[in-house]
């Protein structure tokens, strides 16, 4: 019953897989509540395919970050937050998995760059391994650091200052370091929570280019309050309002022909 995807009733049309994409993440009736009365996310269902960028948009307080953070079970930091429903990552319900394993499979990048202040740039990239007590030899470490930093286009800028602290970098560089830190563990999914909201336009631009580039290898879900950013980088978009998933479609369709009045109002700036 639970695994029969087709019987699931959905209010919105959903983007279809294209090319070699496969179903990676399924949200089924996901609700998140801060207290029994207050639900921040209400019965959200959606399928997300691999090698796509999915943007979650909506006015502030609509539950978009809350939904994102439910995927890698970040809410467990706070005992009063409850997550219900099913979140299937590669067919396995993350709510039944070991949370540490989930978080290694789904990397996360935060609003503000947060490299670990006591670790060098080198150690920051490897933090996912060292914090999980995964032993690597020197050669493996060097290799991971170099390929990951090349992957986020940071290698040339920092290759001579590997031993410096992460806080020595500029904001945009720090954020790319944080992306590298998340990617070093080779996650299935990369969750980004408004990753450019604390950055200047030039750094934002570089992160956006990076996201488009990373799509070749990774699946990305990004929360953004910036509609034009969603339009620039995402394949599919979700629009959330008051905890509900109002519309989920390919970005192109949503921005040109939104099905819902509320989506249209939001996209035309009537609220938000």
């Amino acid at each position: 019953m639970e695994n029969t995807i087709n019987t699931q009733v959905r209010a919105n049309s959903e983007p279809q897989p294209s090319g070699n994409s496969e179903l990676l993440l399924q949200l089924k009736d996901v609700s998140v509540s801060y207290s029994p009365e207050k639900k921040a996310v209400l019965n959200v269902s959606a399928d997300i395919y691999s090698n796509t960028v999915t943007a979650i948009m909506g006015p502030s307080g609509c539950g978009k970050s809350t939904l994102l953070r439910a995927i890698n079970r970040m809410h467990e930091l706070y005992p009063n937050i409850k997550t219900e429903g099913e979140i299937l990552l590669k067919g396995e319900n993350v709510l039944d998995m070991n949370p540490m394993k989930v978080r290694r499979m789904a990397g996360m990048v935060f609003q503000r760059p947060n490299p670990f202040p006591t670790m060098s740039i080198y150690d920051n990239v490897l933090a996912g391994y060292s914090l999980n007590n995964i032993k690597l030899n020197k050669q493996e470490k060097d290799e991971i650091v170099e390929t990951t930093l090349r992957g986020v286009a940071l290698w040339d800028e920092v290759k001579d200052s590997m031993t410096k602290k992460g806080s020595f970098l500029s904001g945009g560089q720090q954020q790319r370091l944080c992306i590298a830190r998340a990617l070093a563990l080779k996650p299935e999914l990369l969750l980004m929570d408004e990753p450019t909201s604390a950055l200047d336009p030039i750094s934002t631009n570089r992160i956006e280019e990076l996201i488009l580039d990373l799509k070749q290898q990774y699946t990305i879900v990004i929360v953004t309050h910036n509609m034009s950013q969603a339009a620039r980088i995402s394949d599919n978009s979700m629009f959330m309002y008051l905890g509900e998933l109002v519309e989920y479609d390919s970005t192109k369709k949503m921005f040109t022909k939104p099905k819902e009045k509320r989506t249209e109002d939001y996209l035309t700036g009537a609220f938000g």
Binding site: M100, K101, F116
Partner: protein
């Protein structure tokens, strides 16, 4: 009209002068005390101070009569202070850090606020009362004054300071670091021990140094717990001397009065230097 304005401005100036004068007067005792200790204490500073135990009253009197420097040193006090401080550190720092982490991690719980109030209460307990309590806890059941009892009393006084500085510096660590660690799949204990604690280390280290500094010169509780000893003692179940206890001893014995200044000078220099180091660490940490 202009006269009242002048009067007001004059009053303002006079007040500022008074504030400045009173403030500068407050600085004076520190320098007077330092000067007094230096003036009277420098003569006895020599190597034997650190290699020999405190002289007997008789030896000191003979030296005084023949106008020679008093023989002997403060080795028994120095070794006792180091021994008891070391034990107090071992007892108080781990507990203090763990409980400080607990308070920072459970900011709003009822239990935390009770623990926090009790920590404040403990911080306010007069040192002599700590001595009385440890006498009842340790000295009486063991039927002997001991270095162990002394270190327990020092540990009790250090504990609230360490808890508070741990809590404060843990709270300064941005919450996003914790989330970043969590998002990488690290366990709770790993996040606390490998990410948050190192990030809070500066404040913690300063707090611990200041706590050590404060109890280093404590005399009253040691009088009731460690008592003092004339020889170097490293047995934790035996009475033991300490630098402040030696000062008390020298103060009470006119023959040894000359040594009191040197010993106090040494203690004060220790305390002030550690103080200054601790505060500089705190400053450096803040810039980062």
């Amino acid at each position: 009209m202009s006269s009242t304005l002048q009067y007001r401005r004059a009053k303002d100036k006079v007040f500022l002068c008074v504030v400045c004068i009173l403030s500068s007067l407050t600085m004076i005792p520190l320098f007077l005390i330092l000067w007094e200790l230096l003036k009277k204490g420098y003569k006895q500073i020599n190597l034997s101070l650190f290699t020999e135990v405190a002289p007997s009253s008789m030896d000191a009197m003979l030296a005084r009569i023949s106008n020679e420097p008093i023989p002997g040193g403060i080795l028994n006090g120095l070794s006792g202070t180091i021994l008891m401080l070391a034990m107090a550190i071992v007892m108080s720092i781990p507990v203090g850090i763990l409980s400080g982490i607990y308070l920072a991690e459970h900011k709003d719980s009822k239990f935390s606020s009770v623990v926090r109030s009790l920590t404040d209460l403990l911080q306010g307990v007069p040192s002599i009362v700590v001595g009385v309590v440890v006498y009842a806890w340790v000295v009486r059941p063991m039927h002997s004054y001991s270095a162990f009892a002394g270190s327990v009393s020092l540990a009790i006084m250090m504990l609230p300071m360490i808890i508070r500085s741990t809590e404060e510096s843990m709270k300064m660590v941005p919450g996003t670091l914790k989330e970043a660690g969590l998002a990488l799949g690290a366990s709770y204990s790993t996040i606390i021990l490998r990410i948050l604690l190192p990030a809070a280390f500066g404040g913690l280290f300063t707090g611990s140094l200041l706590a050590i500094c404060r109890v280093m010169g404590e005399t009253a509780p040691l009088l009731l717990t460690a008592l003092g000893a004339s020889a170097v003692n490293l047995n934790v179940t035996e009475p033991t001397s300490a630098i402040p206890l030696l000062i008390w001893e020298f103060y009470n014995d006119p023959n040894l009065a000359n040594l009191v200044w040197t010993t106090s000078l040494l203690l004060l220099v220790f305390v002030l230097v550690i103080n200054i180091i601790a505060k500089n660490i705190a400053k450096k940490w803040k810039i980062q």
